[in-house]
Every structure is written in structure tokens, then in C-alpha cells.
Amino acid sequence: MRHEIRFSGYGGQGIILSAVILGRAAALYDNKYAVQTQVYGPEARGGASMGQVVIDDEPILYPEVARPDIYVIMSQQGFEKYGARAGEDAVMLIDADLVRSRPGCRCYEIPATSEAKGALGREIVANIVMIGALVTATGVVSREAIERAVLDSVPKGTEELNLKALKRGFELGERA
């Protein structure tokens, strides 16, 4: 099954890292294939940043994302630029506090940033919360895989915090 997952938000939220972690989880720990891509350039600076992952059980030939089936949106601008045209059969996870609009497709509101700021105490892990929610809400990769990928990718000393954020995300995703 081919999945195309798109992440968007603003610079500094760790959007690209989220995409890399997801791709890593699939490719290294879930025995799947993954291609991760992203948007570069000055346009990606002030405005919305965007990263994508294709995940498949078969080798991925055509590597571009044509029509994402899963969206993770963490800013209003990100929604407008990269989420607004989501297909009806897509699924979108939205950071409820940062995105005012809602898409036409199925949509899970995840309070990732407020959770991160609040219960977890560090806004910076909001993206990890989102990833957790994504995993349980869509099952696109396994929990174990994403855990290992998160641990690979975060700075030394922050492992525990990130795992906590991830688990919190799992819960939010399950409930969604």
C-alpha cells in the first residue's frame, strides 16, 4: 500500500525533521520503503515549510508525491499553502491551536502545541506529539519503529522528553 504523507507548518517547528523521522521509521525499522522529500529555497523561509514522505511495501519507483493521503498541518499558512487542496478521501491531522481553517476531508484536531507547552513543558516537542498522533491515528508505521526513529534523531539528553511527547501523541491519536 502506498502512502503519501505531507507535513507543513512554519520554520522552527521541526516540520522537516518530522518527515525524516517518519521516513526513517518506515525504511529502517518497519521493513518498508520510504522516500522523503521537502521544499527548499527562500520561499520556504519566512512562510510555510513543507516535508513529505512516501511509504510503500514495494520499492518506491516514482518518488514524488502526487496526492497526499495523509496531512499533518501545524500552521495556518501551512494549511493555506499545502493543505487547503487536500482530496476528500485524505486524512488530516491539525494542530488545533495554530490552524483556524478546517479541510473538506476527515480531520483530527490534535492540540499538540498546547500539550507540548503545557503538560510536557517544552513547545519544541509539539512536532513529536503530532508524529505520535499520526502513528496511532493512521497506522502508517508501527509504534516501535517510530520510537526508534525518534530516539535516533533527537539531541542527546532529550530522549526522555521526546519519548514522553511521542507517547502523549499516541494517546491523542488513539482518541482521535
Binding site: P42, E43, G46
Partner: protein, 262 residues
């Protein structure tokens, strides 16, 4: 107030990051242009490639956004072909002093009558923060992960040695002094080189313990010492404070120049 009609309003906001000093230096330059009373139709902005070099794209005059490092060579063609134009070059430390170093020293040598404003942020900003020829030794960048090991240029000193008639240095903090320096440079026949040290919060500050825009501005403010003060310290045998750089006018002279309005 800088008249809004100097800007291509439909292009704003520009692509610069939050807190990037380039926008400030555009302001100072346009204030100087207004001070000079230059007409829009006779003023041409030229640049190379880099964040800084995007500046002409926001100014409502004829503008030539060229190839990386070559702004001064293009500008030389513009000015020599039409000395009645006012030619202002925007450039960055990479554009001017890395790939463009040869055109820099030759434009200074020829002393072509134009104004060169270098937004020196000590880094290649546009490409994401690699070390440039003005990156201070020890500074962290994506190509100097263990701290820069190459000596850095003093751009203003180089311009003096190469022959420019007017050379000054200020920073994006010193908006009034910078405006004044650019104005005097524009009034001086021959090449005026104004180095404007500025903050790149995105690619320089973050990695070098200057995490906020105000911290970068404060760093610029506190490490700038006037040329006169430096000279006094030297004369008195006092040490120059660590990491300090001179600001002010480094040279104003009247050597033969090319392309001066006929």
C-alpha cells in the same frame, strides 16, 4: 521618512527572514539617495546573488540582479557607458569578497564613480549558512563545524589598499551614521565603499551564541569602536578590545577616478 514610491510595494514583504538586517540597510541607502536628490529614472541599482543581492528587486528603479559575484563588473559597464547615471551596488560578503573579490579590487582600483554597499553578515546566508571569507576565526557555520580556521578579510582595509576614494564602515545598528556615510560616499567622486555589518539571525546568530535578533544587534553595537578611538588606543599603546572592529570613515580622498559624470 523614505518616500514609499522608492519601493516596489507589490514585492513587499520581502524574502528576508525575521530580523534580518538587510532591510535596514536598504532603508539607509534609500535615505541617502533621497538626501542626494537623485531621480528615479537616473538611478540604477545593481547586485549579484545572495540575500543581500535581492535588494534591488524591492526598489522601484531600473535594477540589474546579475550573477553571483559579478555585480561590480556589470555595474562598471552600466556606469562607463552612461556616466550620467547614479549607480549603486548592493552586495554581500560572499558576493563581494568570495567569488567577487577580483571585481571588488578592480572596481576600487579603477575608482569607478559609484557607491557600493556591502551587507556583511559574515556568512553565506542565501545558501544556508556556510563560512565566508569574513567569518571570524572560531565561528561555527555549516562548513566550519569545528570553528572557522581561515583568517578573515577586513573588507574596508582591502578597499583602501585597492584604491577606493571613499571607504567607511558602520553597522545595521548605526542607522543614522550609516545613512550619513553612504551620503558622503555618494558625494565623493570615485568609488565609495561602505561596509555595513549586519545580522543574519537565521544562519549566523543561531550557531554562534547570538540566539536572538536583539543579541546580534547588541553585539554589533558593543564591538564597534570608532576609528579615532582605535587610533588613540594604538597611539597610547593600549590594547584593542577583543573582537572589536572599527567603524567610521576609513578614507576619503580625491585620487583619479573613472566614469565621473561628464
Amino acid at each position: 521618512m523614505i518616500a514609499p514610491d522608492w519601493f516596489r510595494g507589490d514585492r513587499l514583504p520581502h524574502i528576508y527572514c525575521t530580523g534580518c538586517g538587510n532591510g535596514t540597510i536598504i532603508n539607509c541607502t534609500l535615505a541617502a539617495v533621497e538626501e542626494m536628490g537623485w531621480k528615479r529614472d537616473e538611478t540604477v541599482f545593481v547586485s549579484g546573488i545572495g540575500c543581500s543581492s535581492r535588494a534591488p528587486g524591492y526598489i522601484l528603479t531600473d535594477s540589474l540582479h546579475t550573477t553571483h559575484g559579478r555585480a561590480l563588473a556589470f555595474a562598471t559597464g552600466v556606469k562607463m557607458a552612461r556616466p550620467e547615471f547614479n549607480v549603486v551596488v548592493f552586495t554581500g560578503d560572499g558576493d563581494l569578497a568570495a567569488i567577487g573579490g577580483n571585481h571588488f579590487i578592480h572596481a576600487c582600483r579603477r575608482n569607478v564613480d559609484m557607491t557600493v554597499v556591502c551587507m556583511n553578515n559574515h556568512i553565506y546566508g542565501m545558501t544556508g549558512g556556510q563560512g565566508s571569507p569574513t567569518t571570524p576565526p572560531g565561528a561555527i557555520s555549516s562548513t566550519t563545524p569545528y570553528g572557522a580556521s581561515e583568517p578573515a578579510f577586513d573588507l574596508a582595509e582591502l578597499a583602501v589598499a585597492a584604491g577606493a576614494n571613499y571607504v567607511a564602515r558602520w553597522t545595521s545598528y548605526h542607522v543614522k551614521e550609516l545613512t550619513k556615510a553612504i551620503t558622503v560616499g555618494m558625494q565623493t567622486p570615485g568609488l565609495a565603499f561602505i561596509e555595513a555589518r549586519t545580522q543574519c539571525p537565521t544562519n549566523y546568530g543561531r550557531h554562534n551564541k547570538l540566539r536572538t535578533v536583539p543579541a546580534m544587534i547588541e553585539h554589533l553595537r558593543s564591538h564597534a569602536i570608532l576609528v579615532a578611538k582605535r587610533d588613540r588606543l594604538v597611539a597610547e599603546g593600549e590594547p584593542i578590545p577583543e573582537g572589536a572592529f572599527t567603524v567610521g570613515e576609513l578614507v576619503r580622498r580625491n585620487q583619479p577616478a573613472m566614469g565621473v559624470r561628464r
